[in-house]
């Protein structure tokens, strides 16, 4: 089955023909996402950049054999992930995700102190409800996006991996489950923890 978009198919053809404009376009379309994938496996920025560089060499060598059975993005990200692993730069940070999924016990999406206590009239209801945020344009300003970036960097590895793939890179729940070997529930719980923390970081920033 071929799943290439017409745009991706055009870029692949261009790359095969040695067209530098096609290469530059591919790099600009997928390069930042590839760098982010690399950073999921290695801790230093320098290592991640080297992984991306090696991965692109792998892409150039492999493009002739690329058959479009997966989307171009999936194929590129797989090459980056494999490059990171074969370089042996995998380290403690990339412990098995399924094992880490159990870390969630005792985590709360919202600080429990913000809800009314059990001895009172509306237990579990908002004591300190969320305040209104600025309208969307402000939410998408560079400074706000940097707050999100930092919040994601501070997440435990499994949560960071899931929110990166789902919400930053736009993979489906099923693709993430397969890539990270997670159950449906664990995928969702990790995503929920991660999103909740990013929302909390935004709330703190907006407040």
């Amino acid at each position: 089955m071929h799943v290439l978009s017409p745009e991706d198919a055009r870029l692949v053809d261009g790359l095969r023909a040695g067209d530098e404009a096609a290469f530059a376009a591919l790099m600009r379309e997928y390069g930042a996402g590839m760098l982010r994938v690399a950073q999921m496996f290695v801790s230093s920025r320098t290592d991640a950049e080297e992984v991306v560089q090696d991965a692109w060499i792998g892409v150039l060598r492999g493009i002739g054999r690329f058959e479009g059975r997966s989307s171009l993005k999936t194929w590129l990200y797989r090459i980056v992930a494999n490059t990171a692993k074969t370089r042996g730069v995998r380290e403690a940070r990339s412990v098995p995700f399924s094992a880490l999924a159990a870390e969630r016990e005792g985590e709360h999406a919202v600080d429990p102190d913000r809800f009314i206590g059990s001895g009172e009239r509306f237990p579990g209801h908002w004591g300190v409800p969320p305040q209104a945020w600025a309208p969307e344009p402000e939410l998408l300003e560079t400074e706000t996006l940097d707050v999100i970036e930092r919040a994601i960097q501070q997440l435990p590895p499994a949560q960071r991996a899931v929110i990166t793939m789902r919400d930053v890179q736009g993979f489906t729940a099923e693709e993430v489950r397969n890539a990270l070997d997670l159950s449906e529930t664990n995928q969702r719980v990790l995503l929920h923890r991660a999103r909740s923390k990013v929302r909390n970081a935004l709330e703190e920033y907006m407040g």
Binding site: A24, G31, G33, H108, H125, I163
Partner: protein
């Protein structure tokens, strides 16, 4: 997922992702939505989670560092010449 009684806000906030991902049973989905009708706090919370997802989708603003782009272009030219 199956819930067995009226939802409190501190339960709502734990179900937001299941709700957005359409993973709640129909009866629970209804219960979740009923709570939203009378609870401004949870309604706002849900909106903020959705806004968070939208904003998170924008953090990859594209360009690689210029020096990395340059190294990649050089690698490409080397490959083309080989």
């Amino acid at each position: 997922m199956r819930l067995d009684r009226e939802l409190a806000c501190n339960e709502m906030v734990e179900l937001v992702t299941a709700y957005i991902e359409n993973a709640l049973e129909p009866v629970d989905r209804e219960r979740f939505e009923e709570h939203l009708v009378f609870c401004d706090g949870c309604d706002r919370y849900l909106d903020q989670m959705r806004a968070t997802i939208v904003a998170t989708g924008r953090i990859d603003r594209g360009r690689l560092p210029a020096d990395l782009e340059e190294r990649l272009l050089e690698a490409f030219r080397g490959w083309r010449a080989s």
